[in-house]
Symmetry: C2
Subunit: 376 residues, 2 copies
């Protein structure tokens, strides 16, 4: 399903087929955790912003409104009226970051919902059944996302369990496929590599899960507190053990700089809440760096957020108006900020793909990798 | 500028020309107090929702971002990228409802900003200069909005002062016109009738201000605590003293029922925060009554909010999805609710105009006046 079209160094240009269309890689998945994009954007807006694939969350949707309800209403695509590809995160990350009073056993994890405190049990099988009900195109394996730092012994034991859980995920999806009970018969499974920043554990775990010949592999458990350099080093260490003919997904990453640097190191898929979260604080990405629209200097600025940008906000509205909306705490401020930032991220990926196609990614990286992180 | 096209009883079908286009009446003005529509809607959305005329607020925009800034950036139309007609409220209502530590003198009102507490002085001349800077098509007179109930003596004295203030508003606008310093040379002034629910005071005040031959007249100071019947009775009492060849604007009103009943009594212009405010609470207007989308019964409801509605939300999304968005506290819930409710209000006015054009307003009123207020 994944086709590697071209390489420049380790950076890869590719395409990935899903039941809801082809994804051109490298790609940034636009995050709609609870089946909705932050900032009040809807599925129709996503199309206009160049989104190729949407990401929603197993844990959140299981808690509210419930995956069986979504299945009964035709699945997540129909529920949120997004007819493009969808990836669902397995809930692992959220259970280990949001939920309280966890108890981890071989069978799965017992925890309390962050919404109403009710007890929930999540296992590899249950996560896959939920994702099958949602009907995403790509289901993610249920894993333990280990904190950084964690003792080496804990990480090793956790990775062994995560590998056992992965087999159970695969088996559960196979059995759903055989029974024909899934919402999306073409749904595939991506495995997740863990191991904190211990390169040898990352590598042995990666080798083990590569044997399952899944449709894609993610690097999980990064961007959780380690330095950027530690993250890049870990990607470099594990990348060569990832199957070359499968897409690689770096979970929860990151800044434009992080993305460029990770594409450079062989990553194909990304997702991050940053365009929305930073947008809500008035931090807007531009091709000259990051600006804070609340800054006094934009008070009378009649120009667009970014003269190089052709998003619906830059095409129509001024910095002065957007600054006013932020100062007046109007919801429209958030919608405009998220619209602009998501368009920026999707355009960034488009330009990265363009550079890879032309064999000019090295100079693209040289020009933009630092620049896009600059505060202006 | 106002043309009365047809009457049915006291109800009127008309058209009002402004420098930014013709307004078909009866009309509901869509409220964008701070130069932004609540719920994250932008000027482009307003167009799609059938909005004919937008309403912004003198007091709010004077406080933030400042009317001189808006003038310097080309006026309010350009600032918010809305090229249709705009009416600006004078700030009177907000000063008497929001601001603290008011002192009212003949010259004007001293008060403290609700945003940062700074002292502001507002007079008829200043309100008009602010509205001239904003460049709205219709400026409203600066008046005192009297509380209901208030002692008769206070209301009489206040109305006399409001009438004197109206002359000062008119003179200030004339002088700006002569000097050619306004942002919108075609800007006109509407006077405001006050008098609480004392019919005789309303009538004598109306007679007095009618002599100024302004381009339109509003009924202010209603929908501030009196009963609906008192409001209707007051409209009926004063209506016959309002110039027939000028539009009548009932300020801050109201529910669909209020609007139908007031059109029936000869009113042409309306505005209200209700479509947005009620929308934020999940109360959605339909042609069968008002529903609360948070209600349990919509949990699995795959139908649109209103099968009779062709708004962008009803055309695409289900009640179940919208209910989920409300429960999950997603901003998209508010955008959808406000979108639907504003479309409903604009369609209501369109259907009222259609009924008036066909001479069937009486049966329209009979069918819908109560029905649209029913909780379903």
């Amino acid at each position: 399903m994944f086709e590697l079209l071209k390489k420049e160094g380790r950076a890869r240009l590719g395409r990935f087929e899903t039941p809801h269309g082809v994804v051109q890689t490298p790609v940034f998945m636009n995050v709609g955790t609870q089946a909705a994009i932050k900032g009040g954007l809807d599925a129709n807006d996503l199309k206009k912003l160049g989104c190729q694939i949407e990401l929603s969350n197993t844990y959140h949707l299981h808690v509210r409104p419930g995956d069986e309800l979504i299945r009964d209403l035709g699945g997540l695509h129909r529920f949120m009226r997004w007819d493009g590809p969808i990836l669902t995160d397995s809930g692992g990350f959220q259970i280990f970051s949001l939920a309280e009073l966890r108890s981890i056993r071989e069978e799965g994890v017992q925890f309390h919902s962050h919404v109403d405190g009710r007890k929930i049990f999540m296992s590899p099988e249950k996560s896959i059944r939920i994702q099958s009900n949602l009907g995403s195109d790509i289901a993610m394996a249920f894993d333990e996302c280990v904190k950084i730092p964690s003792p080496r012994e804990y990480v090793e034991a956790s990775c062994r369990r995560t590998a056992r859980w992965l087999r159970r995920c695969r088996d559960e999806l196979s059995s759903i496929r055989e029974q024909g009970t899934g919402t999306n018969p073409g749904q595939v499974l991506f495995g997740i590599n863990q191991g904190a920043v211990f390169h040898d554990i990352r590598i042995s775990h990666m080798k083990e899960i590569a044997e399952l010949e899944l449709d894609g592999y993610a690097i999980g458990g990064l961007a959780v507190g380690e330095t950027h350099q530690e993250m890049y080093d870990t990607i470099e260490a594990v990348e060569e053990y990832m199957p070359a003919d499968r897409p690689r997904y770096l979970m929860g990453v990151g800044t434009p700089t992080n993305i460029i640097e990770s594409v450079y190191r062989g990553v194909d898929f990304f997702d991050c809440v940053m365009p929305a979260r930073n947008g809500r604080h008035g931090h807007l990405f531009t091709w000259g760096g990051v600006l804070n629209i609340k800054n006094e200097k934009y008070l009378r600025d009649d120009g667009p957020i970014d003269p190089e940008c052709s998003c619906p906000v830059c095409a129509n509205y001024s910095r002065a108006y957007l600054r006013h909306l932020f100062k007046a705490e109007e919801m429209l401020a958030l919608r405009f900020a998220v619209t602009h930032n998501l368009f920026f991220y999707n355009t960034l990926m488009e330009r990265i793909r363009g550079a890879l196609a032309e064999g000019t990614f090295a100079s693209f990286r040289e020009k933009y990798s630092e620049l896009l992180g600059k505060r202006i």
